[in-house]
């Protein structure tokens, strides 16, 4: 099971959503719930996935859908930290890549390889 926790940033400047462990379908509902809550507020979303060990299609779908919805709402969804190998491996196996996706949010697709932030 994956872990979804909020971490306050240093200096009280907002918080980061940290995803950890195996992001499997058992975590998908919680993940959607948390992301939807942020979407419905004005808070900017910063996520850190660097401690994710693996991810399945259910959770990838939640993250893709969330990225699209944030994009549509003109909201930023940023990543802190690297995207770990476990995620890249799953995306590759599922053939999910910004190159073969026509969602309007592809230009800022977080799955683009080698685009870790900060």
């Amino acid at each position: 099971m994956g872990n979804i926790t909020w971490h306050d940033k240093a200096g009280g400047r907002g918080r980061t959503l940290k995803l950890e462990g195996a992001l499997t379908i058992e975590t998908a509902s919680e993940l959607k719930h948390v992301l939807l809550q942020v979407l419905e507020t004005a808070e900017p979303l910063e996520m850190n996935m660097s401690a994710v060990e693996s991810i399945d299609l259910a959770c990838v779908q939640v993250l893709c859908s969330a990225h699209c919805s944030f994009h549509q709402a003109n909201r930023k969804m940023t990543l802190a930290g690297e995207i770990p190998e476990g995620i890249h491996a799953a995306l590759e196996a599922l053939a999910i890549s910004p190159d073969a996706c026509d969602s309007p949010c592809t230009p800022e697709c977080p799955w683009r390889k080698g685009e870790g932030h900060e």
Binding site: K32, D56, S65, A66, L94, A95, A100, S103
Partner: protein, 708 residues
């Protein structure tokens, strides 16, 4: 014996005990179906588990008995005393088999056969007996075709799971990986049905895939992968290419593929086809198809086209369907293609300036067709080199007789294809090389025997492909080159200074220098030793190189490295002071920047550091005495000649350029360092650099400077 096997044995003995009990009960109440069922299940378990634990003999033996009891269950066969005693004997036989696996005596095969035969007789006595059930594992089908071509088929698989895919515990990742494991696969993912976060059911599957798979497995093996999900997915497997399909490498148009897949309707297709634009673009622009769908269709198109191209390449040429054409006609075809390439370059340039989408589309189409036409025209001119090999046999025979030497001549690689023009110009150099081998290389029979070699020498003529080149080598098992003799001769001729420190390779290269001959006497055959430098210059004149390898006492190999074609090359276009030059792309390794600082750091020596390696460079502005100042940052085009890297400094690298080679006129023919010219799209002339010559020149200058 491993633990599971041991356990099976124990269980089987228990089952057999139960079975015997049931058989005796059955004998007393022959009509009791419950007992029959009990016997059937026990046999089934013994058989089934037997196969699982490696007791194949038991499995096949029990199979027949099980079939008989199945018939009794269906009341097609009746129980009698004979059947019961036959079954009891079978039980004993199974026990023997079980014991055999633990070091006991082997079961009597003839008894096994006898019992099986009796059961078969009972089974066949039943009228209309269905074929024996076959529960064995499905064998892999597919494989090789008679002609050695792999019997590969390409399928398009659309795997579209229903929303509830995950609900039964299915994870699509291993499924997709299993499909990939069947062969060569392209997987394209579609996410277009994924809703926004608010409407998303996090436990539903919205994703689907197109898979283009080339495999030697049959369609059932593909369906088998999806067997657990076929009730919760739409799975379409369509054969789109077959190994038998060799008539044309052209594959369906994008519109057709999308229509096949049901991504667009026929109406969509027709309304779009009326306009002149790339179909894929149009479909996306008009919103009739998604970009990802078009992308996926493109992947399929490319996958199959590549496959067919490859297959056509390996097909044997059918002699009956070839025609003879005068080579002049081919030459003029290639000339025309050359003109076309030039015009096409102009068109591309124009369309880039005009910024007109329609023009760009036409221009791109022309570019694609021209490239194909060029490759085809070049392909027609390719001939197997073997045709010229024949005449050398005669040459070797005549020469060896004349010189009193015994020479065995062998050839290989006759099927290697080369541009006709190259083959035509190869004749004389090869004659020289073979003459040299017989005259200077192969020793007299007496000398050979004295050296412990067979009296007869061997000359080998071989041809083989190596990238964009063909390697042709002439090797002999003769005396080899005498480095000391060459050195002495070179000094005598003033080709090298007495204190020159030369590697073996450099010494061999001296043989290729003008006016060099090591033969002690001038023989009628090799003439006056003008041979080698004539060979070198004629090979270099069409972009080839000559290499010598030799070991004293055991022989010499001279290798000619020839470009596949002469008329058109892929070039790298560069500029120096507004002048255009073309460098052959196949020699170019990479381009790096050279700043004025870099220049200063090497104290005026022409050396650049490329990834830790020191690469000497040649400043072309100086070589060609061109006006103008060096830009602040120049470009070094690093090339590879033989095993060495040499850089050429230019102002700017423009990019790749299809180059139709035109010969230089009379006056320019002897300009060193330039092998030809080409006409650019806008009519300007670009000179084609002869990087081999330029390097040699620079080395000569360098040496000259160090010596003096």
């Amino acid at each position: 014996m491993d633990a599971p096997k041991q356990l099976y044995r124990e269980e089987a003995f228990e089952l057999l005990a139960d079975l015997e009990e049931a058989l005796i009960e059955l004998e007393q109440q022959p009509g009791d179906l419950d007992t029959v069922n009990r016997i059937f299940r026990a046999m089934h378990t013994i058989k089934g588990s037997g196969a699982m634990f490696g007791f194949d003999d038991i499995a096949s033996f029990t199979h027949t008995i099980e079939t008989a009891y199945d018939l009794i269950r269906e009341e097609k066969l009746s129980v009698d005393e004979e059947l019961i005693s036959l079954t009891l004997r079978s039980c004993d036989q199974i026990k023997v088999m079980l014991d055999a696996s633990q070091g006991g005596e082997d079961a009597d095969a003839s008894l096994t056969g006898e019992i099986t035969a009796s059961f078969r007789k009972l089974i066949s006595s039943v009228e209309g007996t269905p074929q024996e059930r076959d529960d064995s594992c499905p064998a892999d089908t597919g494989g090789e075709q008679g002609n050695g071509l792999k019997a590969e088929t390409t399928y398009r698989i659309r795997f579209k799971p229903h929303r509830e895919l995950f609900r039964n515990g299915t994870n699509p990742i291993p499924l997709l990986n299993e499909i990939r494991g069947l062969g060569h696969a392209h997987v394209i993912c579609h996410l277009k049905e994924l809703p926004g976060l608010k409407d998303l059911d996090p436990e539903a599957c919205y994703t689907y895939w197109d898979i283009i798979l080339t495999t030697d497995k049959d369609i059932d093996s593909i369906r088998d992968v999806f067997i657990f999900v076929e009730h919760i997915s739409d799975i379409e497997v369509t054969k789109i290419d077959d190994y038998g399909e060799i008539d044309h490498e052209e594959y369906k148009k994008i519109g057709e593929i999308l229509f096949d897949r049901g991504d667009i309707s026929l109406g969509d297709l027709e309304s779009i086809l009326g306009r002149q634009k790339r179909i894929g673009e149009l479909l996306v622009e008009s919103g009739k198809a998604r970009r990802s769908e078009v992308q996926s269709a493109l992947v399929e198109q490319e996958h199959v086209r590549n496959l067919r191209k490859k297959r056509m390449g390996t097909m044997p040429v059918d002699g009956a369907s070839s025609i003879r054409v005068a080579s002049q006609k081919l030459d003029s075809l290639v000339n025309l293609v050359g003109e076309l390439v030039t015009v096409q370059a102009r068109l591309t340039q124009l369309s880039a300036q005009r910024n007109d989408t329609d023009l760009t589309l036409v221009s791109e189409e022309v570019e694609r067709l021209t490239a194909e036409l060029r490759d085809n025209a070049m392909g027609i001119r390719m001939l197997p080199i073997g045709t010229t090999f024949g005449k050398f046999k005669r040459l070797v025979r005549d020469l060896s007789t004349e010189l009193g030497k015994e020479v065995d001549f062998t050839t290989s690689g006759e099927e290697t294809e080369l541009d006709k023009t190259v083959i035509d110009r190869l004749g004389d150099p090869l004659v020289h090389l073979i003459r040299n081998s017989i005259d200077h290389g192969i020793e007299s029979p007496e000398a050979r025997e004295a050296a412990g070699k067979p009296a007869g020498g061997t000359i080998r003529l071989t041809a083989e492909h190596s990238g964009a080149y063909v390697l042709i080598s002439v090797s002999d098992d003769g005396a080899g080159l005498d480095t000391e003799a060459i050195r002495a001769k070179a000094m005598e001729k003033g080709l090298i200074s007495p204190d020159a420190n030369l590697s073996e390779k450099e010494i061999f290269e001296l043989v290729l220098a003008p006016g060099f001959s090591t033969a002690r006497s001038v023989s009628k055959v090799s003439g006056r030793g003008v041979g080698m430098d004539v060979v070198t210059s004629s090979i270099e004149s069409f972009g080839g190189t000559v290499e010598i390898a030799s070991a004293k006492g055991s022989g010499t190999t001279i290798t000619l490295k020839l470009p596949l074609t002469l008329a058109i090359i892929d070039g790298l276009l560069v500029t120096i002071s507004d002048e255009y030059f073309v460098m052959p792309l196949n020699a170019v390794v990479e381009c790096v920047e050279l700043s004025a600082d870099d220049r200063r750091h090497t104290h005026g020596r022409n050396l650049a550091r490329v990834r830790g390696e020191i690469v000497p460079y040649i400043p072309l502005r100086e070589v060609f005495s061109l006006d103008g100042d060096n830009p602040a940052i120049e470009q070094v085009v690093v090339t590879e000649i033989g095993e060495r890297r040499i850089g050429f400094v230019v102002d700017k690298v423009v990019g790749q350029h299809q180059t139709v080679i035109k010969n230089l006129g009379k006056f320019l023919r002897h300009v060193e360092g330039v092998s030809g010219a080409t006409i650019m799209g806008d009519g300007t002339v670009a000179l084609i650099l002869d990087i081999n010559k330029l390097t040699q020149q620079a080395e000569f200058t360098e040496k000259y400077q160090t010596v003096h």
